[in-house]
């Protein structure tokens, strides 16, 4: 009982078809997630990445609002630019920063601001988060490859793995994820 759902039609996906699929459960307020994004960027074009939210309201007061903002950007076709921008500048996640980012990306800011507060967007973020928790994810980022969870940044160098590896995380029956 540690799997996650297969690729969905509304998933956020980047990378070439046929490349190895990695599902990333992450949070825009999490510095380890920003690091993982940077490492995965180094392998851009070689892997197929799916982003799903693991936004815990108790983890950071801006975790859920940032996730919902990204979903609102997605409704205007700008999920990945928004995603990248949030991780590039992780200190700017308050509402005025999000509005400014939406404007910079050429989005309809009024629509963006209305969309990020809708029940549908909230439900989307909650769905992803719930699925992560029920699959046994205990922290961010958690990666699923071939249905198996790991907290080690996939495809990263040994140096990066060493930095990210000690994160103690969820697993089955008290064991850490596959190494």
């Amino acid at each position: 009982m540690c799997g996650v759902s297969d690729l969905r039609s509304d998933d956020h996906v980047r990378g070439p078809e046929g490349a190895e699929l990695v599902v990333v459960y992450a949070d825009f307020t999490c510095p380890h997630c920003a690091l993982a994004h940077a490492r995965l960027l180094e392998r851009e074009g070689e892997i197929r990445r799916v982003f799903r939210h693991m936004a815990l309201k108790a983890k950071h007061p801006r975790a859920v609002p940032a996730a919902q903002a990204a979903e609102a950007a997605a409704l205007q076709g700008a999920f990945w630019p928004f995603h990248d921008a949030l991780y590039d500048d992780p200190g700017r996640i308050e509402d005025p920063h999000l509005w400014a980012l939406a404007e910079r990306l050429g989005l309809d800011v009024d629509r963006f601001d209305a969309d990020r507060r809708t029940e549908a967007v909230a439900a989307r973020v909650a769905r992803d988060t719930r699925e992560a928790v029920l699959a046994g994810a205990m922290t961010t980022p958690t990666f699923f490859r071939d249905g198996r969870p790991t907290t080690i940044i996939p495809f990263a160098t040994s140096e990066t793995k060493q930095r990210s590896g000690p994160l103690p995380n969820a697993g089955q029956r008290g064991r850490t994820y596959e190494q």
């Binding site: 009982m1 309201k57 983890k59 029920l134 205990m138 103690p168 008290g174 064991r175």
Partner: protein, 149 residues
């Protein structure tokens, strides 16, 4: 302890200055989550994730408490900082007595191990899990799977 075994004698301090005993296990399925130390980063992740499944526990007629050997004041501050609602139980004095009785004490560290102990509404052991080490976090999925039998 084996499933079906009655709860041992317990005496844990509650946040409001009361005492939680084995008798308080009766009437509702109870999930006791043992964690090593308030404010340690791993514990932070663990309780924040478990907070997400409280509605799932409610639907199953179960409740959750978090237990550590920290003093009540530390636990209350920890809970406030995390923004969680999981009630805290302190196994501070005699230190670790309840944790030892439930096999959830980590002697090498002088602290509670990371463990989950579930009692049914008759205060009998339903399921328990003790981590191989305090650094290992049991996933929330294990709790729900245990409740669903």
């Amino acid at each position: 302890m084996r499933p079906g075994a009655p709860a041992p004698k317990l005496s844990l301090a509650t946040e409001d200055g009361g005492t939680f005993t084995q008798e308080d296990l009766r009437g509702r399925t109870t999930v006791l989550v043992f964690y090593p130390f308030a404010f340690s980063p791993v514990c932070t992740d663990q309780l924040q994730v478990y907070e997400e499944i409280l509605p799932d526990l409610e639907r199953r007629g179960a409740r959750m408490y978090a237990v550590s050997t920290d003093a009540t004041w530390s636990q209350a501050a920890f809970k406030r900082q995390l923004g969680i609602s999981i009630p805290q139980l302190s196994d501070f004095e005699p230190k670790g007595a309840a944790s030892r009785a439930l096999g959830a004490y980590f002697e090498p560290g002088g602290m509670t191990n990371r463990a989950i102990v579930i009692f049914d509404d008759d205060a009998k052991l339903l399921w328990h899990h003790v981590a191989d080490s305090p650094g290992d976090l049991p996933g929330a999925n294990l709790i729900l799977a245990a409740l669903d039998g």
